[in-house]
Every structure is written in C-alpha cells, then in structure tokens.
C-alpha cells in the first residue's frame, strides 16, 4: 500500500500537559476506579447502618480531635498543592523543588494524626460490623495517603536529580498534584461518615 502524505506533525510538541497528556487521563481513570471504591465503602457504611437497631453498634461515636486535626491539615495542604501545580506549569524548578518538600511534609504529618485516629474510633475491627466498616474506610484512606506520599517522595528525589528539568517531569508533578487534590476531596465525605453521621 502506498502512503499519501496529507499531514505534517513535526511541529507538534514532544509532550502535552493536562488534557493533551495520556498520563493525565490515566490519572483520571484511576481516580474513577478509586472513587468507585470509596463510593462503595460509603454505600456499605449506610447499608449496615440501615440494618442496625442503633448506630454506632456498641460503641460511643469516635473522638473528634485527631480526625479534626488531620482534616484541617489536609484541607490546608490544598493551597501549597495548587501552588506547586502552578509552578510546575511555569517550569520554575527551584520553586517546584521547595513545593514538593512542603508537600512531602503535608503527606507525612497527617499520617501521624492517623495513628491516633484508629484508637479514637472506640471500637475494634472485629467487635462488630460497625467496627469493621470504619476500620476499613480509615485503612483504605490511609493506603491512599501512603501511596501518594511515596509518589511525592520519589518525585521529589527525581526533581533533585539530573532528570528533573524536563517537561515530562513537570507534567508528572501536575498529575501528582491533581491526585493529591483527589486524596483530600475523597477524605471529606469519608470524614463526615466516620465522625458526624454517628452523632446525628
């Protein structure tokens, strides 16, 4: 078969960002998968609640302190997160490096509070179905933070290496920021479920 050239694409960029980047779309699809997982966890929570004669089952509602601190931290982290994303778009290497260090910090500190969240639930995972679902939800979200933290740490190392100053890497930073936003936003309904629904 003979080729009939009708188009020249040599002037196109070597890497697109945002909606022009396959990685961005993959990040969105992964968020859809995980969002579905969290949605199901919430659905299971309410399903079990609808069956139980009283809710929470055999335990006082969770203590608020650790969870509230973590939530404030996560919400606050949105600001530097958006800044990092903006710097990455403008390819400001130095600022991105600093920003990623800050975001690593914002990944680690919530985990410290998370350690105190589990005992604050006032129930063990094997006590009853209520304990099982709240531990599972908290565990799922902890995994979520952990994976993004590892991602951020590796990316930080990468930006400090010789591979750092590269459009592709800046795109990765933006995708990572997008994903962190999702980690924070996904937490809010979970937080409401865990801490405030039992108080209704």
């Amino acid at each position: 078969m003979k080729d009939l050239v009708v188009l020249d694409v040599s002037k196109l960029p070597l890497h697109g960002t945002g909606m022009a980047s396959p990685t961005w779309w993959a990040t969105c699809t992964f968020m859809l998968i995980e969002g579905m997982g969290f949605g199901l966890a919430i659905a299971v929570y309410f399903y079990l609640m609808s069956l139980a004669p009283q809710w929470p089952i055999g335990a006082p509602p969770p203590d608020l302190f650790a969870g509230a601190c973590l939530t404030v931290l996560l919400v606050a982290s949105i600001i530097p997160n958006i800044l990092v994303s903006r710097w990455a778009r403008r390819r400001e290497l130095k600022k991105v490096k600093i920003g990623l260090l800050i975001m690593s910090f914002f990944g680690i500190v919530p985990l410290v509070f998370r350690i105190f969240e589990f005992p604050a639930l006032n129930v063990s995972w094997d006590d009853n179905a209520y304990g099982s679902i709240v531990w599972t939800i908290l565990g799922l979200h902890t995994t979520h933070i952990l994976t993004d933290l590892v991602d951020t740490l590796v990316l930080t190392a990468l930006m400090f290496s010789r591979h750092g100053d590269n459009t592709r890497r800046y795109g990765d930073v933006e995708d990572n920021c997008l994903y962190w936003n999702f980690v924070v936003i996904a937490w809010l309904p979970l937080y409401g479920c865990l801490y405030w629904v039992p108080r209704l």
Binding site: P22, L32, W125, D126
Partner: protein, 636 residues
C-alpha cells in the same frame, strides 16, 4: 532554527524501505529470554493473553465434561461430592475470570491500537504487567485445584457458606485472592484501552468515525472500571472476615449475608456485558466484510451499545429475586432488565438489515455469526423470562438458568469470538485458518451446543436445581441428563477441531496477505502480521471507512521521529493532532513488579503483615519501572 537542522532523525524524507528498517530498529524487541520477558509490544502481549485464555477455556471445558460424566446417570459415584463442588466452582470461576473477561480484554489490547491507527497501546508496560498478573493468578487457582485445595463454594461464593465458619481452610481465600489478581489485570487493560481510544486515535477519526468494535471495547472498559471495584471490595472484605475476624457478613454482629450478594452482583451483572459488548463489536465488524456492504445503522448501534452499558448497572437485583426484598423494588429491576431488550433488539435489527441488503459469502466467520444470531436471540428471550420476578421464582437456581446463560455466553460471546479468531487469525499470525476444518467445527459446535443446552431448559422447569452433584432415580430427569451428557461430547469435538485447526494453521497455514477479506478497517492497512511499529506512517482518516479495499493508497501523516518510540496524541472529540508523545520502551520491571505483587497477594492469604512487608518490594519494582533511564523516550 539551528537546532532543527541538527535535530533528531525524522521520517519526513525517507523512502519506505529505509523508514521501515529504522522503525524496526527502534520498535523491535531484543532477542533472547529476557527480551521476551521485557517485551511491551501490545500485539505480542495480547497474543500471549489470548493463547493463555484459550488454554484456560480448554481446561474449563474438560471440567464441564467431568461434570457431565457425573450427571449422566442418577446417584452416580464417578466423582465425590467434595471434588464435584470444586469442579463446578472451578468451571464457573475459570470461565468467567480466566477466560471470558481476559480474552475480550486481550482482543481489545490487540485490535484497538491497530484499529485506531496508533503504534502501541497507551501504557505498554502496564499492559505487560497486566499479563503477568493474570498468568500468575490463573496458575495459582489451577495449582490449588491440582492440590485438591480448590475453592468449593461456587463462583459466586455466597456467605456464610464461604465465611470463616462454614468454609475452613484456605480454599475460599485462594478464590478471593484469585479475584484480586484477575481484577487487577482487567482494570489495567481497561485503563489502557480508555486512554488509547481517547488520546491515540488517528488524526481525523472523530467520535462519529470510531469503528464499532472500538466503541464496544471502550464501553466494556468503562464497565470494568465501574463494576470491578465492587468485587474487589467484596473479595477483600471476605478475606478480612476470614483472616482477621471482621464482621461484615456475620448477622450475629451487625453484618449481613445479603450485603455480599449486592456487592457480588453489582459487579456480576455488568460482567455479563463486559463479555457480551465486545462480541457485539466483533459481529458488527465482521458481518460487513462477508456481505459486501457497510454496516447498517452505525449510529443506532453505537447508541445501543452505550445504553446497554448504562442499563447493565441496574440489573443486579434480578439475581436476587428470591431473597425476600420488597417486590416493588425488585420490579424496578424487572423494568430495567426488560428495557435492556430494546437496545439488544436494535443491535439484532441492524445486523439483519445489513444481511438483508448484502450478499452473503458463507465463510466460517459468517457461519459463526449466523449461529450467533440464531442462538443469542434465544438466550435473549430466556433472559426476558428470568427478568420477570414471578417467572424467576420458578426457574432461579435451576437448570433453566444454566441453559439461559450458556445461550447468552456461548451463543452470545463465544460464537462471535470464534468468528473473530477465524477473521483476525490471518492478521495475528500471517496465515489463514482452514475453511474445511472451520465448517466442521462450526456445525459440530452449533449442533452440539443446542443438543447440550436446550434440554436444560426443560430440566429446569421440571424442577432440577443447579449445583447438584447428583439426583435421585425416582425423579424423571435421568434420560434427558444422559442425552445432555452424550451431546456434550459433540460440542467438545467441535472445539477440539477448532483447536487443531488453530494450531495447524499457525504452523503451516497458507500465507494470508495484508487484507484477505477485503475489509476496510485500519488493521488491514498494514501487513499481516503487523510490524512492531504497526504502521509505517500514522494513517489520516477522513471517513467512517478509513480506506477502501480497492484503493491502494492510504492517507498518512509524517513528522514523527524514527530514533525513539513515538505515537501521535490527538484530541478527544475531533481527533486533531495535539502532541508527539513517546511510548515506553521494553522493560523487565513490569515482570518484577508482577512477581512482587503476587508474592504480597499470596502471602496475605496467610498473614495480614504481608501487606506491610510485601509492599516494599512492590515499591522498589515500581520505582525501577518509572525511574527515567535517560533514553530518547525521556526527552520532551
């Protein structure tokens, strides 16, 4: 300006032969064992996937013959009840999780990049990872079966039978973890297919020019993405209940047995469409090539596909009509299940219209498609029957349902799949399959299938429940069961001939040429089998049929580099070129990541700490996978 002159090598001013040799150098897989392990060519990975899935089909078929042996006479003692329960659980699990879904995903991984005119699937390393995970998951299950430790609680694993109290040992954990393996691999392929279809279509292939098969695979991928999390959540919580004593499914502690059924079927019903929608795409692609006219009702078909995909999420309770939910709520699912007959009908009518207007050429693929229409419509009709709540209370969990879903799954998906194998075999291997053996296998499979499964409708109405390892002589089921068992041998011989044909043709079939069927989708615009880079130059599309078979010219784009793996990224709606993106090179890291993931998953059946310690090697493997190696593909 200066940079551009001394810039990287481009394909712009090269003659075809020189371009091909340079592309081959860039895209080829290194020889040797590790080269094969590291290979990320979507065609190679998908071929392995398809081959493995068909091996599982064969094994699953042997299991069904064992079941038919046991059921051929009342109170037979060929197989013990324990082994029989393992066998039917393995048959269902194997066919759904290790054959039907993977083979459709694999067909997508093979065909979608070719049909949208790109050089590799999006995220080729993820694709390789997905295959290794699938392979290890399948081996795990079959190893368990060989060791007499296979799951024995049915492919649906209802609690509390599958719970810690009534299913001690590791059998059910193996089942639940096998789910994790296959879902992981399915989700990975789904993401790749979605991104490939969204971003890597040939320039000009706007939404209304996407081939129906690609649409079908796209909808299938979204079903995977939205349905599989439910079963992963289910199987993980089941393992937690069994391993660390959570109480999700224990009614004594606030859990609920029906919760499992909701989660399972929220996945389980879309699952049927995950298997069936690709078949719709295959039929819509193959049919036009054998009636010599374009498909009738492209737009209707695509709309029917998507509507079916949406409605498939509102059918799950029709597996639960007898559990005691309010009849009114159940009837909402009757409504949706009945309404889905409308898009299904539309698909059938479009194919009939295509047949009507065309001139059929009776080659093996067309035979299987005609057999499909004949059979699938029957399965659809019994589907309408079980969608009715009162009707279902009589046939639920009987052989009627066994007959129904084999009509839908074998008639509706395996017939088109075999048609697809006959149709795309020349593309995949460069060789034709035998027309003579093809006819034999069609008639044996078609006749054997109906003789085997039609009587099961009657057995079900006569009161024979499913999943029984035997039945008593005073019930009037013996002669029909013997008939079914004998007929299953005819069906099996048909499949045997198909397998023989495939193996023989692979080794010594006549060469196929680029476009043996005079088809007009893009995969036929390149050689058979396609070179590692798929297309010498990226095609440019300006109509629904990207090229006409008679015409020897293909409109293409130039301006891609030859020294690195480069694909064209286009916009989502109009497919206008946006960027020249690099495509990942071969790497052994996906393989190591799969090994590390498998160790963690299998270990976690025995100890929850595996999740902690097992994650470290996974993280190491993933860093190895993604860390830039300073290749040309890293440039931007």
């Amino acid at each position: 300006m200066q940079e551009e002159q001394s810039g990287p090598p481009m394909d712009t001013d090269l003659d075809d032969r020189e371009l091909e040799s340079r592309l081959a150098k860039t895209w080829s897989t290194r020889p040797g064992f590790w080269g094969k392990i590291a290979c990320v060519d979507h065609k190679v990975v998908a071929r392995r996937y398809i081959f493995t899935a068909f091996v599982f089909l064969m094994l699953g078929g042997l299991l069904s013959l064992a079941m038919r042996l046991q059921l051929s006479q009342p109170e037979a003692r060929f197989i013990s009840p324990d082994r029989y329960n393992q066998i039917f659980t393995m048959h269902g699990t194997n066919m759904m999780f290790l054959f039907a879904v993977p083979v459709m995903e694999a067909m997508a991984a093979y065909l979608v990049p070719l049909m949208v005119g790109t050089r590799n699937i999006a995220f080729p390393r993820l694709n390789a990872f997905s295959y290794w995970i699938f392979l290890i998951g399948g081996l795990l299950l079959w190893l368990a079966f060989a060791l007499d430790a296979a799951p024995d609680v049915g492919w649906f694993a209802y609690v509390p039978l599958s719970g810690p109290q009534y299913s001690p040992g590791k059998r059910t954990d193996l089942w639940a973890q096998m789910i994790t393996f296959t879902e992981l691999s399915a989700l990975a392929v789904a993401v790749e297919v979605v991104v490939t279809v969204f971003k890597q279509r040939a320039p000009g292939m706007s939404l209304d020019r996407i081939p129906v098969l690609v649409w079908a695979m796209l909808v299938m991928s979204f079903l995977v993405i939205l349905a599989m999390p439910a079963i992963m959540f289910g199987s993980s919580t089941l393992i937690l209940d069994r391993l660390v004593g959570t109480q999700f499914y224990n009614p004594a502690e606030g859990g609920d047995a029906l919760l499992w059924q909701h989660l399972f079927w929220f996945f389980g019903h879309p699952e049927v469409y995950i298997v069936f929608l690709p078949a719709v795409g295959m039929v819509s692609t193959i049919l036009p090539a054998f009636v010599g006219r374009p498909l009738y009702g492209y737009m209707l078909l695509v709309m029917a596909l998507i509507t079916t995909g949406i409605l498939s999420f509102g059918l799950w309770v029709h597996h639960m009509f007898t559990v005691g939910l309010p009849r009114l709520g159940e009837s909402f699912f009757t409504a949706s299940s009945m309404a889905i007959a409308v898009p299904a009908g539309i698909q059938i009518f479009c194919w009939l219209a295509t047949l009507w207007a065309g001139k059929p050429v009776y080659k093996t693929p067309l035979l299987f498609i005609l057999g499909f229409i004949f059979t699938f419509v029957m399965g659809g009709m019994t589907g309408v029957m079980v969608a009715s709540v009162p009707f279902d209370t009589q046939v639920h969990d009987t052989y009627f349902v066994v007959a129904h879903f084999h009509y839908v799954l074998i008639g509706g998906a395996v017939f088109p799949l075999i048609a697809a194998i006959y149709y795309w075999f020349p593309k995949m291997t460069g060789r034709m399959m035998s027309e003579r053996l093809g006819r034999w296998s069609f008639w044996l499979i078609f006749i054997g299938f109906h003789l085997t499964f039609f009587p099961m409708h009657i057995l079900g109405l006569w009161g024979m429940p499913r999943r029984v390892y035997t039945y008593q002589p005073e019930l009037p089921w013996a002669s029909l069961n013997l008939f079914v068992s004998l007929s299953s041998l005819i069906l099996a011989s048909g499949f045997l001939i198909f397998f023989i044909d495939a193996i023989k043709s692979w080794r010594s079939g006549p060469p196929a040429g680029a476009n043996p069927w005079n088809a007009s989708t893009l995969e036929w615009a390149t050689s058979s089998p396609p070179p590692p880079y798929n297309f010498r130059r990226i095609p440019v599309v300006s109509a629904r049929d990207p090229f006409s078979p008679g015409n020897d010219e293909l409109t293409v784009a130039t301006g891609l580099r030859t020294d690195r793996r480069e694909v064209l990224v286009t916009t989502i709606v109009e497919a206008l070129p946006e960027a020249r993106e690099s495509s990942a090179t071969d790497s052994v890291w996906p393989f190591w990541a799969a090994i590390a993931t498998s160790i963690m998953l299998i270990w976690s059946i025995f100890s929850p700490w595996a999740v902690v310690w097992g994650s470290i090697p996974i993280a190491v493997a993933l860093i190895g996978w993604f860390w830039p190696k300073g290749e040309a593909e890293d440039e931007s």
